[in-house]
């Protein structure tokens, strides 16, 4: 009995540690369910395209997201035709549904935006910034994580991290750069 308790404790500790560390490249993302802006429950599997999906953490307030919105919409529209879909996530405790809806309408996102109340998904993926992207394949396996490109302003982009990851995947080649970080706004978690 003591051994069973010990083994359970060790297993539980590892599980917690794994969750605390987020999602590693090559690991499968949980098939999460979250409500969209109309309150309808959506799932990762239901929204993933035949060649994968991008989970992108967004914000109604963050100026960095605002500078990326046009680019995000362009990339989303371009790659939707190639079977890669976008799924927007708002995990910010400081942004209520009315604000998120109003902002989404102004921006005109070309993809669903889901509400991650209590930042549960953000915690599971260890997402910290907006914008921050997780590109998964059609089975939910993480292929690329991090920044969309290397310039917030959009005027001096020299590295198109996300587009390059898409193009590599679509042509059956391995993604050379699987992670890249950039400066952005902190996800406003509950209690922070």
């Amino acid at each position: 009995m003591k051994r069973a308790v010990f083994l359970f404790t060790v297993f539980f500790a590892f599980a917690l540690a794994a969750n605390a560390q987020g999602l590693a490249i090559g690991a499968a993302m949980e098939n999460f369910s979250l409500p969209d802006l109309d309150g309808q429950t959506q799932t990762l599997s239901g929204l993933t395209g035949k060649n994968g999906a991008v989970v992108v953490f967004l914000s109604a307030q963050c100026p960095v997201v605002k500078s990326y919105n046009e680019r995000i919409n362009q990339i989303a529209a371009e790659y939707a035709a190639k079977g890669i879909t976008f799924i927007g996530i708002n995990s910010n405790a400081t942004e209520d549904l009315a604000w998120v809806k109003s902002d989404a309408a102004k921006v005109g996102y070309k993809f669903p935006l889901l509400i991650d109340k209590g930042n549960v998904l953000a915690d599971k993926l260890a997402a910290n910034a907006t914008p921050e992207v997780f590109f998964v394949d059609s089975k939910g396996v993480l292929l690329y994580h991090g920044a969309i490109d290397n310039d917030r302003s959009g005027r001096k982009i020299t590295e198109q991290y996300l587009r390059t990851a898409f193009d590599s995947t679509l042509s059956g080649k391995p993604i050379e750069r699987k992670t890249a970080q950039a400066f952005g706004c902190t996800i406003k978690r509950v209690g922070q």
Partner: protein, 174 residues
């Protein structure tokens, strides 16, 4: 003496650096020095005192909210620690929005603006636990170990307690 002053007049957005610009030298309020990743590296190393660094941007609301507390900490610990700020604003704002905000805050900490095409490398250089989200405040002990790291608005009393702990240590004992 004349040469550095002349160069400073020619390039107003830069402040000529001594060997270590963070040596407790309070700069004129609002002066911001441009750095790249090579300029960032030496700033991350303590030099005889605890080192407090705050990464921020004018576009970051919590960064702006916490700034008055940072200015208070600077005043309270001036001379006992090295404290500097690194802005991640666009380089185009180095002579406008960034110094304007620092002047409003009456900030006197040495102020830098990081401009680099490889933000990912800069983020990894600062901390392996950082995803690049702002604000970030790190307190290094004299030995370079991280005594406090906060991703998000600082907790004033937590940070000052850590500062007091570091400053209370007997000489030579870490």
């Amino acid at each position: 003496m004349i040469f550095p002053i002349a160069l400073g007049l020619l390039f107003p957005q830069t402040v000529l650096l001594q060997t270590n610009p963070t040596k407790g030298a309070a700069v004129a309020s609002g002066k911001v020095t441009k750095i790249d990743i090579n300029g960032l590296k030496p700033l991350l190393k303590p030099n005889g005192k605890p080192l407090l660094i705050n990464f921020w941007a004018t576009w970051c609301d919590p960064c702006r909210d916490e700034f008055p507390d940072l200015v208070s900490i600077d005043k309270a610990y001036r001379g006992k620690i090295d404290f500097l700020t690194v802005s991640l604003d666009d380089i185009g704002d180095i002579d406008s929005e960034v110094p304007k905000f620092l002047r409003q805050m009456k900030a006197e900490m040495p102020a830098f603006l990081l401009s680099t095409p490889d933000e990912s490398a800069a983020i990894s250089l600062v901390s392996k636990d950082w995803a690049g989200n702002l604000p970030l405040t790190i307190l290094f002990g004299e030995d370079g170990r991280v005594a406090y790291q906060r991703n998000g608005k600082i907790r004033y009393f937590t940070l000052t307690a850590e500062l007091d702990k570091l400053l209370a240590k007997p000489d030579g004992i870490k």
